[in-house]
């Protein structure tokens, strides 16, 4: 436990000083596209949280659509318009209905949700850079339709 704390502390300092964020492999970690600037999180904690959000928001969607929802979260962490960490984005007030109503804690993510989260954290982005998604057949804020839709996967549209 002590060693883990030390590792995370060292990692945090490294990330802070170098400006390079956590990631799962060397190229991703070196890449500025993963410039998340987050406080240290263990990779698995992030996978767990993201898989829960994917479960809450995209259960029943095709697998690629589930990865797309995860990618939206990752894209938000890289945008100056949103909180800079996965927990920050997931718990952004009123950002995700499944968080607002507590759905993400009511069930356990299945293997596909976890796999979708891993792929999204690993850099897969089937949306091509989307920052928003919604189901057009459900009531949503009219504001959301002002965003530029760039893809539709399953029942979700993805927008920038």
């Amino acid at each position: 436990m002590h060693n883990r704390t030390r590792v995370l502390a060292t990692a945090f300092l490294t990330a802070l000083v170098s400006g390079i964020a956590f990631s799962a492999d060397i190229p991703e970690c070196l890449s500025a596209s993963t410039y998340v600037l987050s406080a240290p999180q263990s990779w698995w904690d992030e996978v767990n949280l993201l898989s829960r959000l994917i479960m809450g928001e995209a259960t029943g969607e095709p697998f690629t659509g589930q990865v797309g929802v995860g990618a939206v979260v990752i894209n938000r962490t890289r945008s100056p318009s949103f909180p800079g960490t996965i927990p920050g984005v997931v718990y952004d007030p009123d950002a995700f209905e499944s968080v607002t109503v507590g759905l993400i804690w009511s069930r356990t993510p299945d293997d596909n949700h976890v796999r979708a989260a891993e792929l999204a954290i690993n850099g897969w982005d089937p949306t091509g850079g989307a920052l928003f998604f919604w189901n057009p057949s459900k009531p949503v804020s009219p504001w959301i339709w002002s965003r530029a839709i760039i893809a539709q996967i399953g029942n979700h549209v993805f927008a920038r």
């Binding site: 802070l16 095709p62 596909n112």
Partner: protein, 464 residues
């Protein structure tokens, strides 16, 4: 007898009603306490935000007045750190109907700008007079923001009251209700931050780096029918699907989305670039079975898959799987090239040119593929890789002497500094105690560019 029964029933109903009232009151108190706690945490976030923004301003002002590079670096880093805190605080502030996008962007970019300059100073570079002027302009913007936040806080009369609590009306004599004061104040803050131009710089949050990445070599446009043929033949050549559809995405690289749906409902989706017809990524969404293949078999399968797609000379840089008994594993590959050094050709690892392959350990077949980074950097006509000006020995001299450099180090690499910037660097794999590090020393300037901590276990390697 009947009378006694009625009396008993009345008593029972009375007891039930009393218990119900007691439970309701207890639940009401709990709900009220939860609301108070929630409101208190949001008020705390607002107070923290005000303090953080004030501290950004203070650190910026001191950085501009500091005379030594050490002080400037420290104070700019402090500004960045406070900007990060402000972002976190702002993420917890809730004002119904108010969009925080502009204030979020302003704070994030101000902090980002400070970080970029502090890192440059830390690496021995200098901040130009124009950049100091830009910092002064940002400091003025932060000062205005700080003032507006304080005014909003005061108007909302939050100090030590329960004025904004749900169902509790406080300060009835105030011209605005606390909620309206917050709403009006943050609407004004939104306009204020929108009016401050973003700094022009090369950083992760700068507007130029938020712009879209493009294919290095786009190629001629292809038709949807061509894309369908490419997509269906990519991950599982020869497989027939119950239905096939072709959609489009206008994302960072416009592409066709080719979807093959199986009878069991699972889908194979492949994105094919509209310009040139390269496969950007592909995913097989089938359920994966029990793992039957080991890592080496999966590695061989990933390599064979890449060879079948025309890749050659790629080098594996890492792998990761969810757990020791997981049924899938992701391999990362990068391309290589050669440069002249010391009178001979030496290999250079091109980290930006990344290709990833996920292999299902049940079947030993590729189940996901992604080469978007590779397609945006590899063979980019704008890329020029020079010969290193710093020798291996000079680079080694930059490292702390108590670091044990491991065999095979250093290697020459190209590393991404920003989406638009790459650097040629010597990569040292080094140990200090039980810890392993990857340290990148710029091969042109001799400065230590990046330090990564390498954590390796039986689920792969993680660089942090």
């Amino acid at each position: 007898m009947r009378q006694r029964g009625r009396t008993g029933l009345t008593i029972l109903l009375g007891v039930i009603a009393t218990v119900a009232v007691i439970l309701s009151m207890a639940q009401y108190r709990q709900a009220k306490a939860a609301k108070v706690q929630l409101e208190a945490s949001r008020q705390r976030a607002l107070y923290s935000l005000v303090a953080d923004v004030e501290n950004i301003e203070a650190s910026l002002a001191k950085a501009r007045a500091a005379s030594t590079m050490g002080q400037q670096t420290t104070l700019l880093t402090a500004s960045y750190s406070k900007a990060q805190s402000a972002r976190e605080s702002l993420a917890q502030v809730v004002v119904p109907g108010v969009d925080f996008t502009n204030v979020r962007q302003f704070i994030a970019r101000t902090g980002d700008y400070c970080l970029v300059l502090s890192q440059r100073l830390a690496r021995g570079g200098a901040v130009t007079p124009a950049e100091w002027s830009e910092l002064a302009r940002l400091e003025a913007g932060v000062k205005d923001l700080s003032s507006a936040l304080l005014t909003t806080l005061q108007k909302a009369s939050l100090g030590g009251t329960r004025a904004t609590f749900v169902g509790v009306q406080g300060f009835k004599s105030a011209a605005l209700s606390p909620a309206d004061a917050l709403s009006q104040g943050f609407s004004e803050i939104d306009q204020l931050t929108q009016s401050i131009p973003s700094p022009v710089y090369d950083g992760p949050f700068s507007e130029r780096n938020q712009a879209l990445l493009a294919l290095a070599r786009p190629g001629p446009p292809i038709s949807a029918e061509d894309a369908k043929n490419v997509g269906l033949g990519f991950l599982n050549p020869g497989e027939s699907y119950q239905t096939v559809s072709v959609g489009v995405t206008e994302g960072s690289i416009p592409s066709y989305l080719v979807t093959g749906k199986r009878a069991d409902g699972s889908e194979v989706m492949t994105a094919v670039a509209k310009q040139g017809g390269a496969v950007l990524w592909a995913q097989d969404g089938r359920d994966l079975g029990i793992a039957k293949h080991d890592i080496q078999a999966a590695r061989d399968a990933a390599g064979a898959f890449l060879s079948s797609k025309g890749f050659s000379g790629l080098k594996e840089t890492g792998w990761r799987k969810p757990g020791p008994r997981s049924n899938r594993i992701v391999f990362t590959f990068v391309s290589t090239t050669w440069v002249r050094y010391g009178g001979t050709d030496v290999p250079v690892i091109l980290y930006p040119d990344t290709v990833k392959v996920e292999v299902g350990l049940d079947s030993g077949r590729a189940v996901a593929f992604d080469q978007r980074p590779y397609l945006t950097t590899h063979d980019n006509p704008m890329r020029a890789i020079p010969s290193p000006l710093i020798s291996r020995e000079e680079a080694r001299a930059v490292l702390k002497m108590d670091l044990k450099v491991l065999d095979g180090s250093p290697r020459l690499t190209v590393i991404p500094i920003l989406p638009t910037t790459e650097a040629l660097a010597w990569e040292f794999r080094a140990q200090q105690g039980d810890d392993t590090y990857l340290i990148y020393v710029n091969a042109m300037t001799g400065k230590e560019d990046v330090v990564l901590h390498l954590i390796e276990d039986d689920t792969g390697a993680m660089a942090v």
